[in-house]
Symmetry: C2
Subunit: 336 residues, 2 copies
Amino acid sequence: HQRQVSLLSNQRSLTATTLDGTRITLMANIEFPQEAEHCIQRGSDGVGLYRTEFLYVGKSTDPTESDHFDAYMTVLRILGPEQPVTIRTLDLGADKFSNLPWAPPAEKNPFLGLRSVRLCLRNLTLFKTQMRAILRASAFGNVRILFPMVSTLLELRQCKMILSEVKEDLEEEGIAFQRNIPVGTMIEVPSAALIANNLAREVDFFSLGTNDLVQYTLAADRNNEHVASLNNPADPAVLRLLKMVIDSARNAKIQANVCGEMSGDPLYTQLLLGLGYRQLSVTPHNIPEIKKLIRSVTLSDAEQVAQDALQLETARDVTNYLREQMRKILPDQLEA
Amino acid sequence: HQRQVSLLSNQRSLTATTLDGTRITLMANIEFPQEAEHCIQRGSDGVGLYRTEFLYVGKSTDPTESDHFDAYMTVLRILGPEQPVTIRTLDLGADKFSNLPWAPPAEKNPFLGLRSVRLCLRNLTLFKTQMRAILRASAFGNVRILFPMVSTLLELRQCKMILSEVKEDLEEEGIAFQRNIPVGTMIEVPSAALIANNLAREVDFFSLGTNDLVQYTLAADRNNEHVASLNNPADPAVLRLLKMVIDSARNAKIQANVCGEMSGDPLYTQLLLGLGYRQLSVTPHNIPEIKKLIRSVTLSDAEQVAQDALQLETARDVTNYLREQMRKILPDQLEA
Ligand SMILES: [Mg+2]
Ligand SMILES: [Mg+2]
């Protein structure tokens, strides 16, 4: 505990910069507005993923535009006007359900069903209410909007078209908002990773949801213990997708942020930097540890690690190799 | 109906050869031993996929080695010693269940759960019984063994190791079998497609299960009407995977057979040939129609079609383009 506390206070004011001087953006994933305080305490570079399901889950009526707006403003007030706050539109369905009447019917495979942005595209009133609130909040800070579970270019275009309509409405009503609000798409369905070069031309940033990406790529439910050994971010197939996505992002000169559990696990920090990622988003709790790791590596070493890891044939080989590399940098990290 | 009958008798004795002289192997998918007759009637080049779930579904006891062997011999007797008969090991779970005690527990997302080869690798007695019967049958014909739902290289290696053990047992018992029985893996999980170059080095052939590959790649349950519009083999992401897989197969000089619904749909015939596939496996019913199409195209045209299709951005664009190309070849095909 003592060590944690000192790590925390030591790291807070330091930037997430590699030994050879590359500044990494280390953001926080949050689930509730109150967590914005933790972002400050832990020294994050803004919010990489602000989940908005809490506004719906366990409620008996839909949140109003004010409910949305107030929740967003709470975070903006704490983080100030400069730090990015990435608001993800509603990601309900699958393992997160709501009691609300428009919630999807029971499905045999909810993870492969009507969830997330698929649900929103069928409930435009709901979708537009959230978009209005996000746009209104964008007048008060560095707000970015993020669409989850996009599987095709058509879906992304639909989302963007609806956003344009909402912008027009606000304009007509004389309500302030950031016209050039950055628009991002989650990359968490294999199809999205595979067409990343096409998607990259139509968004400002990517956010990689590695939890879902891993489960779909390996066809292994992340909550099913019987297939847990298959559900592994170190799988060579996942590494190849991560490489494809960052290559597409860099070609299109857009940002790509890794925000699944993988980014909060120090085992993968070198790998992700080495593949080319310059933004990670993790739970506030993990920020000091990941920052310490970033500050202990050089990009040139990380690039070698990524190159080596991409040659390995099994998840086990990748894990063993990454563990060995981490031990070289921070011998005490593994026991922590 | 009259037209169907005449197409049938015209095509039966013809080979599936393109206008510019490339012989395509056009095989049949069967579910029951009795269907072997249809393969002959329809003029197939053997069985590309012999499903074996019928031996388990609706039964109260596990099939014995003799039950397996008899079912395989029925097909071999009808097809003779030359034609390939590809026997797929048990593919239970997901939407195909059995009453048997070792069947998997209820799962929240059975398509992402303990199904198919995952289940077999946990029930070695069951798996070995089936392998023994397949190996014994291999002494009497051109039998190939195919493992479904392989997601990692490790799983494939486990399957092959168990097969080696069963071969040793048979040898010790002095039972005849084909030592070099060709071993194949289904490519139907995105991870398998993504590591196809690694898998190709360790098998004799690939069999592409496009139904599952499409549903996992797009995270869209193939039996869920609410996401039916996403579940589309024409999706650009699917096309890219199909290209990766055939490139890996050709580099490793192994065969690759497309056996999902996609291969039985004339809309995709030119595309698949153009990508480089030389083997298709379809339900016996579809053989005459697909054969007619193969006999109406040149590979050089097909290659252009594939190249063009790979540039398109949405499933809708791909479908429209392929429809147009098919109309050029067989103007009456679309009304059939
Ligand atoms: Mg997700
Ligand atoms: Mg399948």
